[in-house]
Symmetry: C2
Subunit: 354 residues, 2 copies
């Protein structure tokens, strides 16, 4: 799907800004519509009431003693897919939110909403996966909750994990400090999670079947932070809305332009093939263990050397740089050779991918 | 419903212990079946994997620097009912979990799962209610998340709130320290929340319509803690499973017997009437702003004096005492004059009450 198609598809479906007065799938997909809902109908209303809000665009808040907090609900469908499942996703996703904010993950809470009739054996598999991933990430599960709703009132299992971590010192500058000249790095080949979900759901039967990149990023993030200090400006895992969503958020935060070279984007041959077949733009497809980093230009090769020490980021490469903004906030040099503005993901390309 | 009926009803519906290999509504209702699921299929499996678990039976964990954490998902249906709604319930419920554990509530996270087609205007009402209650409880909302699932994959809105608080010093002794002789206090008239939900759902049209007791308990709890110190043994809001569930958990924790006098239980005339009409035992019906306290006998009148200062607990009274256990863990002296063992709530009397 080209960026224009993505926008048009959204328009055609009547997605924009909830003009029908109802929640649409687009409201949950991490794009512009999603952000508008959160900004205008949730954050604004809470602030109106003088509720003190501490969360920024990354949904991570800081309070006393450098504690970082993040929360996420996981509603992925199907719950098992090549390379992962809802249990590990719920642990890695929340651990990664903390890691990307420059915090060391410490504690998780685990809340399950189960549909009546959900097989206990399947529940066991999910909990096993939660346990295995929590151990791998060295996070403790400190509180839990289980609710059951009647058949038809939910779909199998939904999981909420809330993560608590400790910000490392010195604090990472953050996306507002991204500066023209900074290098943009993708940590691994992109678009694997979204295609794994799509294939598991639609049974396309691709061979090899695309597997998710879902996995923990806390060690990689810590190594980068320690290695680069304040010259690591910002990191963000490219989940809903793909790398396009991250680049757009950063462009909005810092006011500059994000420029990337499509030819430099790490992409496996099979991902490329599937995307071409289905007419999808991999820049918009969700990842769950791949992130974007902005680093000072003189530290880019050092950042890559650090990333290459970890198997999960051994394909990391520089894909572009931050430039002064002329018109478009995000620009991609397409393989054919010309620069093209990259649309902000508007809404749902694939619902329930995480 | 008499205690025996409660048990039989559960048995007749094939609820016990998930013998059909599937999740049943009973698994979510806070009774024995619920506790078995959590103990055997979640906590045990997490521990097997050496995941360090810090949560106790109250789902509240403590870690460094006296931080308390609790998580709860709210799936109540309908989402608006006399005296409350899912938004305020999600704030008060989590605030109360912290307060009952002897902690001062500080921060909440807010995660929404919305069903496609949910009216934005209804969302606004829910968020307004969250904002109002957070302000009332003086808690900050530090992180948020919004997911949307396709129509039919959820029912309107589900809310998860995770609460973070600070344990007050000296720490409350807790339910394991409950001692024979201790007085048992109910903070207010019971069974109001469950009946409010039942009436809103089934449109019985009772007049006056029963209203929930849902409301914040943090100030009352703090006053009791400060006033009584370590002679306040334990507090617990009597949510799913009603006061019967709390008394059974405490009996299991401390090994003694909980004895209450039915004639002393605070109960409004209209609640009593509805319960008699429907054949329900109010001891098993959920509350959302009413708690049970165990206090040293010589401090009971002081505890009541403190409770009577607050409008929410002006009907507080001593309902019984802790005794040496003979056979039954929980005994109720029925109005007719004889002592009767009180069954542990087994499973779902009313699904989706919180």
């Amino acid at each position: 799907m080209s960026p224009m198609n993505q926008g048009e598809w959204g328009m055609a479906c009547g997605i924009p800004q909830g003009q029908h007065g109802c929640v649409t799938l687009a409201h949950g997909e991490g794009g512009r519509v999603s952000r508008a809902l959160i900004r205008d109908r949730i954050i604004a209303k809470l602030q109106e009431r003088s509720v003190q809000l501490l969360f920024d665009a990354a949904d991570v808040g800081a309070f006393a003693e450098n504690i970082a907090v993040t929360t996420d609900s996981y509603v992925v469908s199907p719950i098992f897919f090549a390379g992962g499942d809802i249990g590990s996703l719920a642990v890695y996703g929340t651990v990664n939110d903390l890691a990307m904010a420059g915090a060391t993950p410490m504690f998780l809470t685990l809340a399950l909403i189960l549909e009546e009739g959900f097989p206990l054996e399947t529940l066991d598999r999910v909990i096993d996966s939660v346990a295995r991933s929590a151990l791998e990430c060295d996070v403790k599960i400190v509180a839990g909750d289980t609710k059951v709703v009647p058949k038809g009132a939910a779909d199998g299992v939904f999981i909420n994990t809330t993560g608590i971590g400790r910000f490392q010192q010195p604090r990472m500058p953050g996306s507002r400090q991204i500066t023209p000249g900074d290098s943009l790095i993708f940590s691994a080949s992109i678009a694997r999670h979204g295609l794994a979900i799509l294939d598991a759901r639609e049974s396309f039967g691709f061979s090899p079947s695309p597997a998710t990149d879902s996995g923990p990023l806390h060690q990689i993030a810590e190594a980068l932070r320690i290695g680069l200090g304040c010259e690591l400006r910002s990191m963000r895992d490219a989940t809903r809305g793909g790398v396009a969503a991250v680049l757009h958020e950063w462009a909005e935060d810092c006011g500059h332009a994000m420029w990337i070279d499509e030819a430099a984007v790490p992409l496996s041959a099979s991902t490329r093939g599937i995307c071409e077949l289905l007419g999808l733009d991999p820049l918009f497809i969700a990842n769950e263990g791949t992130f974007v980093a902005a680093v000072a230009p003189n530290r880019c090769s050092e950042a890559l050397a650090i990333l290459h020490r970890f198997s999960r980021s051994r394909e990391a490469c520089k894909v572009g740089e931050v430039r002064n903004r002329v018109v478009s906030p995000v620009v991609v040099r397409r393989v054919v050779g010309f620069d093209q503005p990259l649309d902000e993901p508007l809404g749902a390309m694939l619902p329930r991918i995480c």
